[in-house]
C-alpha cells in the first residue's frame, strides 16, 4: 500500500512540475505581457492579500515542521567520527539500553584490528550510559537526561566535544560536565551548582559543547565514578578506533560472526544516522498537514481566481479579439495564479527564517532522554516550500483559467 501511495504522490508532483514549466514556457512565447498580470493582481488587492497571506501561512507551517525534522536528523547525522566503531549488545536499540561486560572488554582488548596509542594500549573506550530524571527550569516538570560515564580515551575519540566553561571532571570525584544547551533548560546546571540524583549529589564543574551533534544532549562524568554512583556492574557500549578502514571492515565482521560475544558493531556515524524514530512522526505530521491544509487552500484560491475571471470577462474578450489564443489566456491566468502563490510561498519562507537556528527539545524515542536540536531551514527545504506554493497556485487556478479560455468571444465582450 505505501509503495503505491508514494508512487501516486510522486507522479502527482511530477505532473504538477510539468504543468508549471509548461505555463512558464507558453507565457514566455505568447507575449501577453507579464505586466498585465502584475497590474491585475494589485487592482484587487484585498483578495490578493488574503490569498497571499493564506498561502504564506500554509507554507510556513510546512517549512517549520520539516525544519524540526531536519534539525533532529542533522544533529544525528553530524555525530561521530567515521573512523570509529561503536559496539553494543545485539538487540539493543539505543546506547543507553545496551549492556556489555568486563569480560567482553578483556576479549576485545586483544583484537589486533584495534589501533594502539603511544603507550601501547588499545584505543578502546568503555562507556556507561545512565538516565537521570532531573527538574527542568521553571514549571517544566522533570525530564530524563542522558549521563555518559566516559574514559580519557573516549574523550579523545570524540573530538567534536569540547569544554566551553569551567573545567573537566576529575576522576574519583562526584563531578559532572553538562552540555551548555541542556544548561539552558535544566535547573541547577550552572557551573558550581550541585544536584541530587538518587542518594548521590553531583557537582557541575563545567559546560561542554558538542558542535551541533547529539552530544549536545549529554552530560559527561568519569566512567568508573558513574558505575559506582549508579551501582552498575556492566558497561553500556564500547567505542574503538581500528588501525585502518580495512581493519574496520574486518573488525565488524569478526565481532558480528563471533557467537560468544553477542555484540553488534557498526561505524559510529552509521549508528547515529539510523536514529530516525524521533523525527519520523514529525515528518508524518508535516506531510498530513501539508495535504489537508493545501486542499483547503486550493479551494480558497479557486474561489479567488474564479472571481477574478468573472470580473475580467471583458478583458478576456478583448485579449481574444486582439488575436491571443485560448492557450495564451489559460497560460496568462495560470501564470498569475502561480506568481501570486509563489509570492505567498516566499513570504512564508521568509517568516520561517525567523526561527532558523532556534534551539528546542523533545523526548528522543531512542535514548528516552531530552534531546536538543535546532530548527534548521536548508535551501532544499525553502525550495520545497516554494514548489509547494507554486503547486497550490497551479491547481487553484487551473479550472478558473480553463473557464476563462472557454468564454465565447462575443458574449465576453458584451459582459458588463
Amino acid at each position: 500500500m505505501p509503495a503505491v501511495f508514494t508512487l501516486l504522490v510522486q507522479s502527482f508532483l511530477g505532473l504538477t512540475a510539468l504543468g508549471i514549466v509548461a505555463v512558464f514556457l507558453t507565457a514566455h512565447f505568447s507575449a501577453v505581457p507579464v505586466k498585465y498580470n502584475l497590474k491585475s493582481v494589485f487592482i484587487r488587492w484585498r483578495s490578493t492579500v488574503a490569498t497571499v497571506v493564506g498561502i504564506a501561512l500554509v507554507v510556513l507551517v510546512y517549512v517549520l515542521l520539516q525544519s524540526l525534522a531536519v534539525g533532529i536528523e542533522k544533529s544525528n547525522a553530524s555525530t561521530g567520527d567515521p573512523r570509529n566503531i561503536l559496539i553494543a549488545r545485539k538487540g539493543a536499540t539505543a546506547e543507553s539500553s545496551s549492556l556489555v561486560t568486563r569480560a567482553q572488554l578483556r576479549t576485545l582488548q586483544y583484537f589486533e584490528e584495534i589501533e594502539r596509542n603511544a603507550a601501547g594500549d588499545p584505543v578502546i573506550s568503555a562507556d556507561v550510559l545512565t538516565l537521570a530524571s532531573l527538574p527542568r527550569k521553571g514549571q517544566g516538570g522533570e525530564a530524563n537526561v542522558l549521563l555518559r560515564g566516559v574514559t580519557p580515551r573516549g574523550m579523545e575519540l570524540r573530538p567534536q566535544v569540547h569544554l566551553v566553561a569551567g573545567r573537566w571532571f576529575s576522576p574519583g570525584r562526584r563531578e559532572i560536565v553538562v552540555s551548555r544547551k541542556l544548561a539552558g533548560r535544566f535547573a541547577n546546571f550552572d557551573v558550581g551548582d550541585t544536584f541530587k540524583t538518587g542518594p548521590t549529589t553531583l557537582t557541575v564543574v563545567g559546560w561542554l559543547d558538542g558542535s551541533g551533534s547529539a552530544y549536545d544532549s549529554e552530560c559527561w562524568m568519569d566512567a568508573d565514578e558513574s558505575r559506582s554512583v549508579f551501582e552498575r556492574e556492566m558497561y553500556s557500549t564500547f567505542l574503538v578506533r581500528p588501525k585502518s578502514p580495512e581493519a574496520a571492515t574486518n573488525l565488524i565482521r569478526r565481532i558480528e560472526s563471533d557467537k560468544r560475544l553477542q555484540l553488534r558493531a557498526e561505524s559510529e556515524t552509521g549508528y547515529y544516522q539510523k536514529q530516525t524514530l524521533t523525527a519520523a512522526p514529525i515528518k508524518w505530521l508535516a506531510g498530513f498537514l501539508a495535504l489537508t491544509m493545501s486542499i483547503g487552500a486550493v479551494f480558497a484560491a479557486m474561489n479567488t481566481m474564479y472571481a477574478a475571471v468573472g470580473a475580467r470577462t471583458r478583458e478576456i474578450g478583448t485579449l481574444r479579439v486582439l488575436g491571443f489564443h485560448r492557450r495564451n489566456v489559460i497560460a496568462t491566468f495560470l501564470l498569475e495564479g502561480i506568481l501570486l502563490a509563489m509570492l505567498g510561498g516566499a513570504l512564508g519562507c521568509l517568516i520561517s527564517l525567523k526561527w532558523n537556528g532556534y534551539t528546542t527539545a523533545t523526548l528522543s524515542v531512542e535514548s528516552f532522554s531530552e534531546t536538543v536540536f535546532s530548527f534548521t531551514i536548508t535551501p532544499t527545504l525553502a525550495a520545497q516550500g516554494m514548489f509547494f506554493a507554486a503547486a497550490l497556485g497551479f491547481w487553484g487556478t487551473l479550472l478558473p483559467a480553463v473557464r476563462a479560455a472557454r468564454l465565447p468571444v462575443i458574449s465576453a465582450l458584451k459582459a458588463l
Binding site: 493564506g54 538487540g91 537521570a132 524514530l277 528546542t360
Partner: protein, 382 residues
C-alpha cells in the same frame, strides 16, 4: 417568495462558489478537530476505575534505573496499601516489528496483579491457567484483535533493554481497562531469563481508598529515604502527566499549529465571503432603493455567510466525528492512538469558530453596504 427563500436563492446562485466556500471551511475545521483529538490523546492519558487508587513506585534516579526486589516486604507492610505487584517494562520488539512495537509488555506477579489492575476482566479458567504456568502470558483484547491472536498462540519478543528474549504462549485475554493493549507475563520468567538480577522495574500498588492514596505515597517515599535505592511514589495520574511533560515543546508546537490553521481559515474564508457580497453590490443598492432598511440588508448578508460557514462546520466537524467514530484507528495508526475520540467540547469549539467566521465575513461588506448611497451602489462595476 419568502425572505428565507430569497436568502437561500442568493446563497446558492453561484453554486460553485458556495460549494468551494463550504468545502474550504469544512476541510479546515476537519483539520482543526483532527489536531485537537490528536493533542488530547497525546496529553490526556485514559482513565479507569482504579486510576485514582493506583500508585506507581519508581527509582528516584529515573524510570530506567531498577529497584531491588527486596523492597516488596517493606511496601507490603505500609498501612493503606491493599495490594502491590512488581511491574517491569520489558520493552521488547514483537516478532515482525523492525524498529518499534507500539504495545507494552510487563513482567508482573500473576497472583498479585489481579488486585492492582482491578478493572481487568478475565475468564477465571484462563487466569488460573496463566498463574500456574510461568511461560504463559495474558494479552489485552485490542492487541489480540490487531494481530489476530488466539489462545495457545506463541508470542516472541526480542529484548531491547534486557539482554534476553521472550518466548511466550497465550493463556487468555483481558479487557475492561483504559488501555487494553498490554501483554502481561510472569516476573519469574524474566528473572530466570536475565540471570536473576534481583531487581524489578517499578512497583504498582493499590491504595485502600482514594483519601489514603496521597498519604500512602508519602509513606512509601519516606520508607526508602536515604537508602541506596530511593524511590519516587506517585499516583498513576501524576506519573502519566510526568511522562507526558517529557515530550517538552512538541505539545506547544501542535497547539500553535492549531492556531495558525484557524487563523488561515478565518482569513481566506472571510475574504471569499466578502467577495461574494461585493459582487452583489448593485443588487443590494437596488434593494435599498426598493425601501429595504440597512438592518434588513445586514440580516440578508449575515444570514447568508452564517449559513454557509455553518454548513461547512457540519460537513467538516460532523464528518470528522463520524469518521473517527467508525474508523479502526488502532489498526490504522499502528497502535499509536487508542481511542481518537471527538469530544462534545471540540465540536462546540468548531461550531463556535464557524459562527465567528460567519459574523466576521459579514462585517466588512455589511459596513460598506450601509455606508454607500444608493446612487453610488448602482454605479459600482465590481
Amino acid at each position: 417568495m419568502t425572505l428565507g427563500g430569497f436568502i437561500l436563492k442568493n446563497a446558492l446562485r453561484n453554486k460553485r462558489r458556495a460549494l468551494l466556500s463550504v468545502l474550504s471551511v469544512g476541510v479546515s475545521l476537519f483539520l482543526f478537530i483532527t489536531l485537537q483529538v490528536a493533542l488530547r490523546e497525546l496529553t490526556l492519558p485514559p482513565e479507569d476505575l482504579g486510576s485514582s487508587l493506583r500508585i506507581i513506585v519508581r527509582n528516584k534516579v529515573s524510570l530506567a534505573s531498577p529497584l531491588p526486589a527486596r523492597q516488596l516486604q517493606v511496601i507490603e507492610k505500609i498501612p493503606g496499601i491493599a495490594a502491590v505487584t512488581p511491574f517491569t517494562f520489558f520493552g521488547g520488539l514483537y516478532k515482525g516489528d523492525e524498529k518499534f512495537t507500539s504495545f507494552a509488555q510487563f513482567a508482573v506477579d500473576p497472583a498479585r496483579v489481579k488486585d492492582v489492575i482491578v478493572d481487568a476482566k478475565m475468564d477465571p479458567a484462563e487466569y488460573a491457567a496463566w498463574v500456574a504456568d510461568r511461560t504463559l502470558c495474558i494479552v489485552g483484547l485490542d492487541t489480540a484483535r490487531r494481530y489476530n491472536l488466539k489462545r495457545g498462540d506463541r508470542m516472541q519478543f526480542t529484548g531491547t533493554f534486557y539482554p534476553c528474549d521472550l518466548d511466550l504462549r497465550i493463556a487468555g485475554f483481558y479487557h475492561g481497562t483504559a488501555d487494553d493493549r498490554t501483554v502481561f507475563f510472569h516476573h519469574r520468567y524474566l528473572d530466570e531469563a536475565s540471570g536473576n538480577p534481583g531487581t524489578v522495574g517499578c512497583w504498582w500498588a493499590l491504595a485502600s481508598s482514594a483519601e489514603e492514596a496521597a498519604l500512602v505515597t508519602a509513606r512509601i517515599n519516606e520508607a526508602f529515604a536515604n537508602s541506596s535505592a530511593e524511590v519516587r511514589a506517585e499516583t498513576e495520574r501524576a506519573f502519566q502527566l510526568g511522562f507526558i511533560s517529557m515530550w517538552a515543546n512538541i505539545k506547544v508546537l501542535i497547539g500553535s499549529i492549531c492556531t495558525v490553521v484557524v487563523f488561515t481559515l478565518l482569513l481566506v474564508t472571510v475574504s471569499t465571503m466578502s467577495m461574494a457580497i461585493r459582487e452583489r453590490f448593485r443588487e443590494l443598492a437596488v434593494l435599498k432603493a426598493l425601501g429595504f432598511r440597512r438592518r434588513e440588508l445586514l440580516g440578508f448578508i449575515l444570514a447568508e455567510s452564517f449559513g454557509l460557514s455553518m454548513l461547512g462546520a457540519i460537513l467538516g466537524a460532523g464528518g470528522a466525528w463520524l469518521l473517527y467514530r467508525n474508523l479502526d484507528i488502532q489498526k490504522l495508526a499502528n497502535g499509536v492512538f487508542l481511542a481518537f475520540e471527538v469530544t462534545p467540547r471540540m465540536l462546540g469549539m468548531a461550531f463556535a469558530i464557524a459562527a465567528l467566521l460567519g459574523i466576521l465575513s459579514a462585517i466588512a461588506p455589511a459596513l460598506s453596504v450601509a455606508r454607500t448611497s444608493v446612487v453610488e451602489g448602482l454605479r459600482t462595476l465590481d
